[in-house]
Amino acid sequence: MRFIGRRLALFLLTLWAALTINFIIPRLMPGDAALAMWSHIHNATPEQLAALEAEFGTPNQNPVLAYIGYLGNSLTLNFGVTVDQVPVMTKIMQGLPWTIGLVGVATVIAFALGTLLGIYGAWRRGSWTDNLLSPLLFMVTTLPIFFLGLVLLLIFGVTLHWFPLNHPYSSLPTLTFQSVADIGYHAFLPGLTLVLAAAGGWIYTMRNNMVATLSEDYVRMARAKGLSSRRIMISYSARNAILPNLTGFAMTMGFILGGSILVEYIYSYQGLGYLFYQGTSSRDLPLQQALFLFYTVAVLVFVLLADVLTAWLDPRTRTA
């Protein structure tokens, strides 16, 4: 398990680095960061200045003590209050389920779809999926994500009126079938944007990995043993081809989360990305900083999960 130990060390070091970057950036700026932010708030009150100073410190504060206090606060999820005096965690917990639902489902669909089409494309090289559908989806991937979001909104929302233009739901969600269907209906276009932005990349890498593993000796051996093609395709070739994709999956989480900010903004989808946008444009820096940490930790957790999965699927990493 030395592999997992090493990856865990990287996880902790990166977490520390991200925390430190978050601490340093506002303090690197010339002058009094808290005062500067406070002056940007409309109708600012002295309490707000106190809150900002608690978060970002004052120029003549001992930086080491401030740093230790900051690390302690961050690790206990105490991010202070927003400029309108709501605890940052309260706001984050309001947005979190929407983002997890939207981004989570879209990512799983994109990964599953991409991997399956990639496997199929490599297995049946030269079929119409391989020659037409996959390259087409891959070209879509290189388009800017806001291009996809806005064009889908324009076609299916504004012009055809098939889907709603914004918001995650039309009336406050309840646990009825109708409400769940309504949420799915609202999430369709933003979700489709994220799927289109990601799926093509998975097809491409999965197909290329799979083409490589199909020419390996162990696949030839499996054929010689007379195993069913289904078994060769899934257990021999695809299982090995998926390994690099797992690491890639974690790495692209950063890209997908970044893209989700744009998508949530386009569709006024009140998740974390929309909150992050609002926090930044209203200079609500305690909120902005906490969300930045959340995004980083989310990617880190995915990287660690991918490592654990890789270790489980690939015996070589266990002995290394």
Partner: protein
């Protein structure tokens, strides 16, 4: 397959002259459909960027709608008992893509923003590639603790999500102008390339010609600049093109959210932002929003096509499989 044969039959000792190299590259570009298309798209952009006035003679930073026309429109609206709505005019012969809420010509804005957008994209991509090369190659060449430290820094930057970091940084650099965007885009984007180039550098490190250079007692800078970098050129170009695709989209995305728009500098991202702010979509003024996002996608696609084509040219394994007949192999 003819290309492979040619390279096999050429005596390896003959040095390739630069003219021969150029003709080989241009032949490769012309033979590859993606490369040709990508290059044509890029040349179109370059032409528009260099000669905006050839495309349109309209000014881009003042109203193009004559005052009498606006007065007429107001009077008509009042006479009809409606709210006068005399800006964001629909496309017509005089303004083919319509006008903005200040009645600026959208086409002229689009054309005049091309130069800054292209310049910033290429500049950022060059800087990012340069940093990637320096960090990646240094890590691979130096090894040991230097490598551990640089690789860790690279991994940290790779894991921290780029767009959120960009947004955080841009709040503090709002007054910094175009230079600030170039700066924040550069320091957030180099990690991916650095990691790839380090891997490539490691695979080159153990090659014999480097061993020979070391035995000859060459200095480090000589080994890096004369022996290593020329051998990594194709990878460096690929890193540059890949970065450009990313930079075009990310810069516009950042500006679209309203971050990183600077003063009077007009880019496509700024246009998208302004049209969103003026609710162009719900006002039915679709082209004000659509034309800059199509332009961004066009530029991104141009770089992406060049990138795939470059991959295909540099990496024969990715070329289309053409089933060889037995006769071919024998001949």
């Amino acid at each position: 397959m003819t290309a492979i044969d040619a390279s096999l039959t050429r005596p390896p000792t003959t040095p390739t002259s630069s003219r021969e190299a150029i003709s080989r590259v241009s032949k490769a570009i012309l033979r590859n459909r993606k490369a040709t298309l990508g290059l044509v798209m890029f040349l179109i952009l370059l032409f528009v960027a260099l000669f905006p006035d050839v495309i349109t003679s309209q000014p881009w930073n003042e109203s193009v709608v004559p005052q009498p026309l606006i007065s007429q429109c107001r009077q008509d609206a009042i006479a009809a008992g409606k709210m006068p709505n005399c800006s964001q005019l629909p496309p017509s012969r005089a303004w083919p893509l319509g006008t903005t809420q200040l009645n600026y010509d959208v086409l002229s804005q689009l054309v005049h923003a091309t130069g800054v957008t292209l310049f910033a994209t290429v500049l950022i991509s060059l800087l990012v590639t340069a940093i990637s090369v320096v960090i990646g190659v240094t890590a691979a060449y130096a090894g040991g603790r230097t490598d551990t430290g640089l690789s860790f820094t690279t991994d940290v930057f790779l894991v921290i999500p780029a767009l959120p970091l960009l947004i955080v940084l841009s709040t503090y650099l709002a007054s910094g102008g175009l230079a600030a965007i170039v700066f924040v885009m550069t320091i957030t984007s180099w990690a991916f390339g650095a990691r790839q180039l380090r891997a490539q550098g490691l695979s080159i490190r153990s090659k014999e010609f480097l061993e020979a250079a070391r035995v000859r007692g060459e200095r480090s800078w000589y080994v890096i600049f004369v022996e290593i970098l020329p051998n990594m050129l194709s990878l460096i170009v690929a890193a540059f093109l890949g970065t450009s695709v990313y930079v075009v989209a990310t810069m516009a995305g950042l500006q679209f959210l309203g971050f990183g728009n600077v003063g009077d500098t007009l880019t496509w991202g700024t246009m998208i932002y302004q049209s969103q702010q003026a609710m162009a979509l719900s006002s039915g003024n679709v082209w004000w929003l659509l034309s800059p996002i199509i332009a961004v996608a066009f530029m991104g696609t141009s770089f992406a096509l060049l990138n795939y084509a470059f991959d295909e040219i540099a990496n024969p394994a990715l070329r289309k499989v053409t089933r060889r007949r037995l006769g071919d192999a024998a001949a």
